[in-house]
Subunit: 186 residues, 2 copies
C-alpha cells in the first residue's frame, strides 16, 4: 500500500498543475491520450491508424528488413455520435505559417472525398514554438489552399477560420468539443 505524505501530495499536485499544458508531450501523445479518454468514457471510437510499413524480409516472427511507406490517407479516423470522423494531425516548428509540404496531395484528395461522402474531416495543427494548437475544418483548409498559390497557410488564417484548442488535464485536447459547437451536428 502506498502511504501518502502530505508533502508528497502537494509536490505531485504542483507538478501536475504546472506541467499539464507543457510537459513536452508530442501532439501524437496528446491525441492518443485524448482518444483513450473518449474510448474509456464511451464518447467516441477514434484511433490513429498504424504507420504503413513495407515488409521486405522476415526471419520467423521477426521482421529483418522493412521500410516506412507514404500513407495514402489521413492518420486518424473513427466514429462520434454516428458521424464518420477523419483527420490529420501535424506539428510544425514554423512560427508564422503552416508549410503545406506537411500535407500530401493524396491526403487532401482523401479529405475531399470524406467531406463529399458526409464525413467530418479536419486538421489539427500544432505550432510547437508558439505552444498553440488549432482545429481547422478540412473544407476551410481546402478552400484556402485552392484559392492561393502560396506554399503555406499563415497562422492568422488558423486564428480566424480555425479554433484554438487549449490543453486541459483530461481530455488533454478536447477536439470533439469543437465539433459539437461548430460541426453542424446535433
Amino acid at each position: 500500500m502506498k502511504i501518502n505524505y502530505p508533502g508528497n501530495i502537494k509536490k505531485q499536485e504542483f507538478s501536475k498543475v504546472n506541467n499539464y499544458g507543457n510537459r513536452g508531450m508530442t501532439l501524437e501523445d496528446d491525441l492518443n491520450d485524448t482518444n483513450n479518454y473518449y474510448l474509456e468514457k464511451d464518447i467516441a471510437v477514434i484511433y490513429k491508424k498504424p504507420t504503413p510499413i513495407q515488409v521486405v524480409s522476415t526471419n520467423f516472427e521477426k521482421i529483418t528488413k522493412a521500410y516506412f511507406k507514404q500513407p495514402s490517407t489521413t492518420d486518424y479516423n473513427g466514429i462520434y455520435k454516428g458521424h464518420y470522423i477523419d483527420f490529420e494531425a501535424k506539428e510544425t516548428t514554423a512560427k508564422t505559417s503552416f508549410p503545406l509540404s506537411n500535407i500530401h496531395k493524396h491526403q487532401i484528395i482523401h479529405l475531399k472525398r470524406i467531406i463529399k461522402h458526409g464525413g467530418i474531416g479536419f486538421l489539427i495543427v500544432r505550432f510547437t514554438k508558439l505552444n498553440k494548437t488549432y482545429f481547422l475544418f478540412a473544407k476551410d483548409f481546402i478552400n484556402y489552399i485552392e484559392a492561393t498559390n502560396k506554399k503555406s497557410v499563415p497562422i492568422i488564417f488558423f486564428e480566424k477560420s480555425g479554433y484554438e484548442i487549449t490543453l486541459k488535464l483530461n481530455p488533454r485536447l478536447d477536439y470533439l468539443e469543437i465539433i459539437d459547437k461548430y460541426g453542424g451536428i446535433l
Copy 2:
C-alpha cells in the same frame, strides 16, 4: 492497336467466365480490388488499415528489427453514404464452422462499440475450401456467440443469418449491396 480475332475473343471470354470466381485471389485481394472500385467510382471511401508493427531498430531509412503487433481494432473502416463502416475479414480452411479463435476479444469489443455509436459493423468470412464468402452483421454474430459456449460458428448460421456474397467481375465482392438491402439505411 490490338486486332481482335474471333477465336481469341472467345478464348478470353471463356477464360474470364471460368476464372473470375476462382482465380486464387485471397479475400484480402478481393476486398482491396472492391474497395479500389468503390473509391474510383466514388461510391465509398473504405480502406484496410495497415498492419501494426512495433519497430525496434532502424538504420537510417531502413527498419532492421521489428515485430508484428496484435491489432486492437478491425482491419477495415471507412464511410459509405454518410455512415461509418467497420468490418473484419477472415478466411478459414474449416468446412463446417468458423473457429472463433480467428477473432480476438478486443475486436468483438470494438465492433460492439461501433454498433453502439451508430456505425455499421460486420464480418466477411470466407470458407476457402467451399468457395463461399459470407457477410454477417456484427450484431447477429455477437448475439450468437454470447448465447453459446461453442468455440466456433457453424456454417448454417452464416447461411441463415448472414448473406452469401457471390464473386462478380467488378466489383469482385460487392458487400455494400448487402448494406443497401439489409443495413437499414436509406
